[in-house]
Subunit: 496 residues, 2 copies
């Protein structure tokens, strides 16, 4: 099994709904079971958030969305599913009962993951007939965007199960991080809990308020951790002398305060109220939906920035995003693009990411060229100039572009781009791209581009091979009957 | 005092050196005292890193760099300084002695900040004659990039001192976050310490290795915290029911594990060695300088992404960056740009940020238009079309662009751009921009652009006011004697 054909989600709250969104947006059908009377609404809202975020996250072609169905029972939901994800409330007896029921009804080869953030897999799998295929798959909110899933096996979990789960997680854009030994709360929530306990003391003792504490985190180590985590950051702090030097310095220096903060704070009504009031003062100007939206936009922006990191090779979650996009592009040849029709090719669908906006909330000038450049890349992939071709040493480079701005794209607006091939010779492809607003098909901008086939190592133009030429010529022939766009062949400032 | 005229840095290691870099790059002269035999080299290296990072961080015009001098004594260093920053090793007696010496030699109106990450300001200011102007100013590594400085006063610190320190920190791009009460390790290091202690247990007990732990952080809550911190993130987790609901749910659920992790781990030789080996396996493929470089590039990318966030209004550290850039632009009119000379205006200096790179390590196509667009913005600011003008409802929009790619810009390469004004009428400015490689002045790309003056509210072209026209016409007249660029007025694919 190298891909998930059908997934089942048992429990459809914010976590289960976001799992469903991950599967659906990766083209996988999902059967959902949740007896909650509002399950359909909740899952629908999470899915809408996820679709919006993915539209901004990537210009790689998502496969046709999977089909979501709501089952009337656990037994019905898990039929034919090869990944079943349990996300019911965090009570051992409840979870164990649901999992045992899933186990009895599912195919013995199906993987069963639990979203528990704290319970031990050994306890959860106790009553299963096929416990070897059960594991904890603990995700982080928002599950449709954050790529982490902690994979934790119990005493009866097989190694093959964890290996397979890690492989399959990558197909939905997640990194399965394997935790070596099971403990309550695993790794992420242990770390969160320690810091959270300390934070509560700081608020309780009036050292700072919640906004100050958040600012301390987000203006400093939050950004360090977003890309490198804890140990790699401290490795740098150790300098040339390295990690051992850092520990030697840091250990004794912190010994003294360490002996103090080991008490557990009493989260009584007064403290709850204090935190609630401070949080209102800090964030109350935004509604929760608005904060969710801003959070998702920021996460998208961070992942996109990290995707370009390390000299274009990607870093951290940005590397994971690049890997996910490679998979999407590799599957894109299977998508129905009619290259033989006498009409411009529709090549990209994209939502305007808020980090692309200027102060007016309009798409910034240079992002238009990003969409046009990605449109050319999509055309090139279609004619066989894919990652492997480029790695092999040849590519098409853009040598000229003429852009006209005819309208304005706003934040979160859905756009699509089309491409008309004007002419082809053995070295050059002459194209005319258009960015349309999806809502009314109106033209927002056009770009005429000249692409030149190059031998990248020699740094010189070179004829394209017949395998590529034949494909692009077929498109050019189909487009030959189209009228030449009025704006093609014009220079800047030319009168109509 | 609304700006720092001269700063003194006592202690020039990684922290003190980076403070110096912050001051110098904000145009402030720095006098440094450090008896370490290699102080000059260390400070020089940190300054080089900082300059590289700032080149990528912003296209806003940094003022001419301040002058760095090395003093032979503390007394000499602090002469005439209005901000004195102490960054000597973390020992109370040493720091108190140095601070008392600074206090005796400095002007009584000078602010004195300490970089201590743990000592109490009351203890440090004990022997000062003018303790009211002393405070802790605790920064985070890398100090030249991370904008946080924790401001903590002691019993004798005046409120005015903290207010003034906060104001002045903003002028060097830092956010002074005021901690209400002094405690050892303040806020940030308390939080770090709690999580660090937990992390050591997880490694000690073989629950995971250092790489797994770092991945857990950076693929999940690291990215959440980079933009919102802890409480705002959890506020969202509480959903519509809010923060109090979250606490009610989360409190009892974590009560049980809370009672466990309160032991302090013994950081003995075996654990130090284990962490050292795991860290080598995780990060050993990169040297420390390389990791530093990657970290800085990633931080720049994250801050730039957050600068565009919240629909272009900025968020978190990105908002701080936007504020800092506004200050830089507001001061830019004072920079010497000779608008009367018969030569293209040199308007921007920039280094190619690695997050701008494609898989080949070359600057991605659309980033060229970013540099060209920022070049137009710089021209507009020069003729009075600044933030205030735009907020007032008028602006110039780009309606057409013709780009030619003549060379390739590589990651970290220094570039500059020039602008020739081709013609002006009451609504239009016709410009020709060139991107040059700084090393050899070679032309990498050109862009011909047509800018149209608009009434943004009406969404229509409108004549520019005389105040703007007179300035741009003066430039156009000076440029009238220049030959028209060969590439101007050409369309895509036009033969020479």
């Amino acid at each position: 099994m190298t891909k998930i054909n059908k997934a089942a989600c048992v429990g459809g709250g914010v976590i289960g709904g976001a799992w469903a969104a991950r599967f659906l947006l990766a083209g996988i059908d999902v059967s959902m079971y949740d007896p909650h009377p509002e399950a359909t609404r909740i899952v629908g809202e999470v899915l809408a958030n996820a679709e919006r975020a993915y539209g901004m996250l990537t210009m790689a072609p998502l496969p046709p969305r999977g089909t979501l169905s709501f089952a009337k029972s656990i037994e019905e939901a898990v039929q034919d599913a090869d990944w079943i994800q349990e996300s019911v409330p965090e009570r051992l007896e409840l979870k164990r009962g649901v999992l045992t029921q899933i186990d009895a009804a599912a195919s013995p080869s199906a993987l069963i993951g639990s979203s528990t953030s704290g319970l031990m897999p050994t306890d959860l799998q106790r009553d299963m007939k096929h416990p070897e295929r059960f594991f904890v798959a603990h995700p982080y909110n928002p599950v449709y965007l954050l790529p982490l899933v902690e994979l934790v096996g119990g005493q009866k979990t097989s190694k093959e199960t964890i290996t397979k789960a890690k492989e399959l997680a990558a197909t939905i854009g997640m990194e399965g991080v394997v935790i070596a030994k099971e403990i309550e709360a695993f790794v992420g929530d242990r770390l969160l809990e320690a810091l959270w306990r300390e934070a509560l003391w700081l608020i309780q003792d009036d050292i700072c308020d919640t906004e100050t504490l958040d600012n301390v985190i987000r203006y400093s180590f939050g950004m360090r951790w977003a890309q490198m985590g804890l140990f790699e950051t401290y490795r740098i702090a150790g300098g040339e002398a390295g990690m051992r030097h850092f520990l030697a310095q840091f250990g004794p220096c912190l010994q003294w305060p360490w002996t103090k903060f080991t008490d557990v704070v009493d989260l009584d009504d007064a403290l709850v109220d204090k935190i609630g009031s401070q949080s209102d003062a800090q964030s109350g100007a935004y509604g929760i939906r608005e904060l969710e939206r801003i959070r998702d936009e920021n996460l998208v922006g961070i992942m996109q920035a990290l995707k370009g990191g390390n000299g274009g090779k990607g870093w951290g979650a940005g590397k994971l995003l690049a890997d996910f996009e490679s998979r999407l592009w590799a599957n894109a040849g299977k998508l129905p693009v009619d290259t033989g029709a006498a009409k411009p090719l529709r090549l990209l669908d994209v939502k305007v990411n808020p980090s692309w906006a200027d102060y007016n909330g309009h798409m910034t000038e240079f992002r238009y060229l990003q969409v046009f450049g990605d449109t050319s890349d999509a055309l090139l992939r279609l004619i066989g100039v894919d990652d492997a071709y480029v790695k092999d040493g040849h590519s098409y480079y853009t040598v000229e572009t003429h852009i006209r701005h005819l309208g304005e794209a706003k934040v979160n607006e859905a756009l699509y781009s089309t491409c008309q091939v004007l002419s082809v010779d053995e070295k050059r492809i002459h194209v005319f791209h258009t960015i349309h607003r999806a809502a009314d098909d109106e033209t927002i901008a056009t770009a005429e581009q000249m692409l030149l086939h190059v031998d990248a190592k020699a740094g010189k133009a070179a004829p394209a091979p017949e395998s590529v030429l034949s494909k692009v010529k077929a498109i050019a022939e189909a487009h030959a009957t189209l009228p030449k766009p009025e704006a093609a062949g014009r220079h800047v400032g030319q009168k109509k």
